[in-house]
């Protein structure tokens, strides 16, 4: 199960943080700080998995952005690594050539798209098209 998802840039600024387990605010800040520290200086040749307390963090870097998932110790690491990539592909489709600025200015949309992709800590929908489709359906209401 996914415990939380973090999007951070290289300076450690949080671009998106979604928690699927209840955490205190102070604890959240600590987690964000620690995960950033764990991830930011790792050699790119190293594994994309890091132990984090009793869980593990799967991270992937896209340009200056780190996508980190915290999952159970028994989960399939590679699958979650690809899950990050799928999410990025979804964002890429939605924003057509996504860049960090898209996420910065449209973070609320990213949250909504994420809700179509992952729910209650599990992959809810693995079809790119369906994810975007579900989100895009509501666009007429928003615009």
């Amino acid at each position: 199960m996914i415990r939380f998802i973090l999007l951070q840039n290289r300076q450690g600024k949080t671009r998106l943080a979604k928690y699927y387990v209840p955490l205190e605010d102070s604890e959240k800040h600590k987690v964000e700080y620690e995960v950033h520290r764990l991830v930011v200086n790792r050699d790119p040749k190293f594994t994309n998995f890091v132990e984090f307390r009793t869980h593990k963090v799967i991270y992937r870097r896209y340009a200056g952005l780190f996508f980190s998932l915290c999952v159970d110790i028994t989960d399939n690491e590679l699958a979650y690594l690809e899950c990050i990539h799928l999410f990025v592909e979804i964002l890429d489709h939605f924003f057509s050539n996504v860049c960090e600025l898209d996420l910065v200015f449209n973070f609320h949309k990213v949250y909504l798209i994420l809700d179509e992709f992952i729910l209650a800590g599990e992959l809810q929908e693995t079809s790119k098209r369906v994810c975007i489709f579900s989100y895009a359906l509501t666009i007429p209401y928003i615009l």
Binding site: M1, T14, R15, L16, K18, Y20, P22, L23, D25, E32, D43, K45, F46, T47, F49, V50, E51, N76, E77, L78, A79, L81, E82, H85, L86, H93, F95, S96, N97, D102, V104, F105, N106, F107, H108, Y111, L112, D115, L119, A120, G121, E122, Q124, E125, T126, S127, K128, R129, V130, I132, F133, S134, A136, L137, T138, I139, P140, Y141, I142, L143
Partner: protein
């Protein structure tokens, strides 16, 4: 559709984001955010804010919160927004509350009502938004409030709603399994949903349920296998493909489920072999996701009942992973190897060099995984190398959490597999030296016990050799700065017992060292206590041997210092030491016999030697002793003893009269005078320490009375007797324990005698002195040497011994591989044909019509193809008549049963299941021809989807054109 710059957002908002982005320092950012908070606080309370504006404020609140600031002042506005009628605001409201609030927040109560209302909404988008919130916000207490509605939504016509409803139930199950335990049948039904997304989502709760209770889901093995087969055969819509692989995430989930279901169940496992084998063959190992699926296959194979063919495929995959350059794959390879090694230990050997590489890799994650693997494959032949490596690594890291972990692993392995005592002692020394504070105290006691007893060896020379080597090593280490306390205790104890035993070191040398320790660690009372006791033992030994004792000046100062110590324990020991020195050789020999630490000492709990004394005292008018159990509450129960206090009958309530008690001359008063009397005969114990002197005195006579040979004090008895029950304060009880230590010299403070047998046994059984390997490969380079010592080399001989060493699983000889491979190739085609392949044929025969454009028909194809196939191929022999199960499955809908029954006659259970589900979703209650029912579904679905597609032109560009993908599916539909 790039909405860069944010359509519909005000300049103000964009400026905020921009300025934050451009902030040079954290302080500047904080300043901006604080300003923003002030603005929002002001704006939010203004009357008549336009809705669009309000929505933006809420989003700004989310932003503030995301930057790590407190936006709780605005939570209530987000909650209010969820009440709004328009989807546009409602959804923002729900998004904000899910990000702001935890499930136990007070405001949740205000949202539950809205959620309930929204779950009933006609607009499915509102329902979806509400379900998103349900997943995050509903806690155990509020589950009942929404549960009925969520369950109802499982039958909603929109797949997005069904999917979210399933996820919500999954969440409920995690929070409170009992709340949804009656819904298992609903999950089962959703497994057969028309929409692959819903089916995929249903696997989440099922995985959890199966994890909890495997046995009640065994009947689903067939369904899971058939679903997995269809997924692997690319029957799901193309949109579920990821990097050309058909629905890999669903495959992975299914493989996880199968691993659980097949674990330890031969029959279930046999049903899976074929499909797992197929996936092994089909998976593309060049992409990450393909490897993820392969890895999951390996996990599955290692969990289910073993099948040689699959094990071989798994071994191939592992080999590929380990040979890869990618660290990620190596990591998975190591992990998979660890799983498979239990089933086929010989495969580790092929990968020894790869494993060594990983062990030496600078990447910590990989290294730790490798240590995990090594831990699993440790046996007596390679324990030395592995533990050595572990300790080296342990020394190099700083993370205390992991350090503790690895230390406990080292100790565990060393205790279990140590090839010799000498090695064990040296290893433990290293562990203590570098991580003494992280080691369980029991380990120290085990070590002392080992040095004292030298397990299972009758050979005396070996024995003394062991001790003197221990003494040597400790004298070497003792000067090192900052040794951990536990380790120093061990050192002091060993030096005290055996420091002068072999005559190599003089008493003054050892005592000098001990004084140094006591001085250097003057803050650590336990170490000082151990040091003083050790001094006493050495002096006693000297005196008993008839040599004159000259006490070193520093030793003298130490004793003086300690006899004025704040710690009564240290004082006690210092006085005892002085008392012992003053005695004559014969007495000393009796009270502190040399090398008696491992002698059993018997205790007569009745203390008969005191009888005279007691009688005399009673004659003089003392009160007789009343056993604790017979004492009534008022007389002595409250005598400082907490346990007794609790035993006071409840009717008494609080005892306010407690102050009178000291006058009562009950137990403790009866004993002390007696024992003082007896002790006076032997040792002049100074008055001030009289309470403790008693204990020492009491135990001393017992050993002196009968001499070391016959009288055996039983240690555990001593502690029971003199520990808690009779003496109230904890300091008294520790000193009691400590003084036993002085007398019999063996018990470390908290009764370690109980822990040792386990190790000794383990060591005896696993002791294996021969290690041919290392010599055998000395010519080869460093790494190979390491590999050989780790994996037991490649020679057959060695493997045999390694198999005998620890792995009891039936292992295949490696030679078998070569022979088996061709046989497998032969076998493969023969095994292929069973039902699913026939189904394929069925499809081909029915296929007549051209492709259609409706993408969702693919989904129906997934389900109906099976049905058709089965009806055309109804001559297929039905073997396992699992019919009833499948029926029960759909038992709740009459029409289903009817239709199910209709097909039932001719088809095997898989098909039944699938047909059942398709009929469950159609309205064709008549149970008529299959094609009609399919057409109905199709008609009802088609336009809907088209509408939906037209709603948003943006999405259409991503729409699929399924015609080219899988024409057969569509032919089926009309066939």
């Amino acid at each position: 559709m790039g909405s860069q710059g944010g359509i519909g957002q005000s300049k103000e908002f964009l400026d905020l984001v921009k300025s934050i982005g451009e902030a040079r320092s954290k302080a500047e950012e904080d300043r901006i955010v604080l300003g923003e908070i002030e603005t929002l606080k002001r704006r939010l309370v203004e009357p008549g804010i336009p809705k669009r504006k309000m929505k933006e404020y809420i989003i700004r609140l989310v932003y503030i919160e995301m930057l790590g600031h407190d936006a709780s002042f605005g939570y209530i506005h987000a909650v209010k927004m969820t009440h709004d009628d328009s989807l546009f605001l409602k959804r923002t409201g729900y998004l904000a509350v899910t990000l702001f609030l935890n499930e136990d927040h007070d405001l949740i109560i205000l949202i539950v009502n809205t959620i309930q209302k929204d779950l009933k909404s006609d607009n499915f988008l509102i329902v979806c938004a509400a379900l998103n919130a349900v997943c995050k916000l509903i806690n155990e207490e509020t589950i009942p409030a929404v549960l009925p509605q969520v369950v109802e939504l499982l039958g909603h016509q929109k797949e997005a709603v069904r999917k979210k409803a399933i996820m919500a139930l999954h969440r409920f199950h995690q929070k409170s399994p009992s709340s949804v335990s009656h819904l298992v049948s609903n999950f089962r039904k959703r497994l057969c949903d028309n929409d692959p997304g819903v089916m995929g989502a249903t696997l989440c709760p099922l995985l959890d349920l199966i994890n909890r209770d495997v046995s009640s889901f065994k009947d689903l093995v067939v369904s899971f296998v058939s679903i997995l087969k269809q997924v692997a055969e690319h029957r799901l819509p193309k949109t579920y493909d990821y990097h050309q692989l058909p629905a890999p995430f669903i495959q992975i989930r299914l493989l996880k489920i199968l691993a659980l279901l097949g674990s330890g169940d031969k029959q279930a496992s046999e049903q899976m072999y074929m499909v797992v084998g197929d996936i092994f063959r089909k998976c593309d190992s060049s992409s990450n996701i393909g490897n993820a699926v392969l890895y999951q296959c390996v996990c599955c194979v290692s969990s289910i009942h073993p099948n040689p063919k699959l094990l071989e495929s798994a071994a191939d995959v592992i080999a590929r992973f380990l040979k890869s350059d990618s660290h990620n794959l190596k990591y998975l390879g190591i992990d998979a190897l660890g799983r498979l090694i239990k089933l086929s230990p010989e495969i580790a050997e092929q990968h020894q060099l790869a494993v060594i590489d990983c062990l030496e890799d600078p990447d910590d994650t990989l290294k730790r995984k490798t240590f995990e693997l090594l831990h699993k494959m440790t046996k007596s032949s390679n324990v030395e190398v592995i533990v050595d490596r572990m300790i080296d690594y342990m020394i190099s890291i700083n993370d205390n959490h992991y350090k503790t972990d690895i230390v406990s692993r080292c100790v565990e392995l060393a205790e279990q597999f140590a090839p010799s005592n000498q090695w064990f002692i040296q290893t433990m020394n290293r562990v203590f030296e570098h991580a003494g504070d992280l080691v369980n105290i029991k380990v120290a006691h085990n070590l002392m016990h080992l040095i004292a007893e030298g397990f299972g060896e009758d050979d005396d020379t070996e024995y003394t050799h062991l001790r003197s080597s221990a003494v040597d090593s400790y004298l070497r280490i003792i000067g090192a700065p900052k040794l951990p306390s536990v380790f120093l205790q061990v050192i002091c104890w060993v030096l005290g017992e055996y420091g002068t035993a072999d005559g190599k070191y003089s008493a003054s040398y050892i005592t000098g060292k001990l004084c140094d320790v006591a001085e250097a660690y003057s803050n650590d009372e336990t170490v000082k206590a151990y040091a003083v006791t050790a001094l006493m033992k050495i002096y006693a030994c000297e005196m008993a041997a008839g040599r004159t004792v000259d006490i070193l000046p520093e030793c003298q100062t130490l004793i003086e210092e300690l006899s004025a110590s704040h710690s009564t324990d240290l004082q006690q020991r210092a006085y005892e030491l002085q008392a012992v020195i003053a005695l004559d050789a014969q007495t000393v020999e009796n009270i502190l016999p040399s090398d008696a630490s491992s002698k059993e000492i018997e205790i007569d709990k009745n203390l008969p030697f005191l009888n005279d004394h007691v009688e005399r005292a009673i004659e003089k008018g003392a009160q007789p002793y009343i056993p604790e159990s017979e004492r009534s509450g008022f007389s002595s129960a409250s005598y400082l003893n907490r346990q007794d206090l609790y035993e006071v009958p409840p009717s008494h309530g609080l005892r306010f009269e407690a102050y009178e008690l000291p006058k009562q001359p009950s137990v403790p008063l009866t004993t002390p005078p007696v024992s003082i009397g007896s002790s006076n005969e032997l040792i002049p114990v100074p008055e001030p320490t009289y309470n403790r002197g008693t204990q020492a005195a009491v135990s001393l006579p017992s050993s002196s009375n009968a001499g070391p040979a016959e009288v055996k004090l039983r240690l555990d008895g001593v502690q029971k007797r003199w520990g808690r029950p009779t003496y109230s304060s904890s300091s008294a009880s520790t000193s009691a324990a400590a003084s036993q230590d002085t007398v019999n010299g063996v018990t470390p403070p908290d009764g370690a005698t109980t822990v040792t047998p386990a190790i000794s046994k383990g060591r005896e059984t696993t002791y294996e002195p021969t290690r041919k390997t290392q010599q055998a490969v000395e010519i080869s380079p460093e790494k190979q040497k390491l590999a050989a010592s780790l994996f037991g080399g490649s020679s057959k001989q060695e493997r045999k011994s390694s198999l005998g060493g620890g792995h009891k699983t039936a292992a295949k000889p490696t030679g078998g591989h070569a022979v088996e491979a061709p046989a497998k190739k032969m076998a493969a085609p023969v095994q292929q044909p069973p039902p699913p392949d026939l189904l394929d044929l069925g499809e081909m025969t029915v296929a007549t019509t051209g492709p259609l454009i409706d993408p969702f028909k693919q989904l129906e194809g997934l389900l109906d193809s099976v049905e058709l196939a089965s009806s055309t191929k109804n001559h297929v022999d039905v073997s396992a008549a699992k019919g009833p199960d499948a029926m029960a499955f759909y038992g709740d809908s009459a029409t289903t049963v009817e239709q199910g029954g209709h097909h039932f006659s001719s088809i095997d259970d898989v098909d039944n299941l699938m047909s059942g589900l398709s009929s469950a979703t159609t309205d064709a209650s008549s149970g008529g021809g299959i094609p009609t029912s399919q057409l109905t579904t199709q008609n009802s679905k088609g336009p809907n989807l088209k509408d939906a597609l037209q709603k948003d032109a943006l999405v259409r560009q991503m729409g699929v054109n399924p015609s080219s993908q899988n024409p057969n599916l569509f032919k089926d539909l009309l066939g």
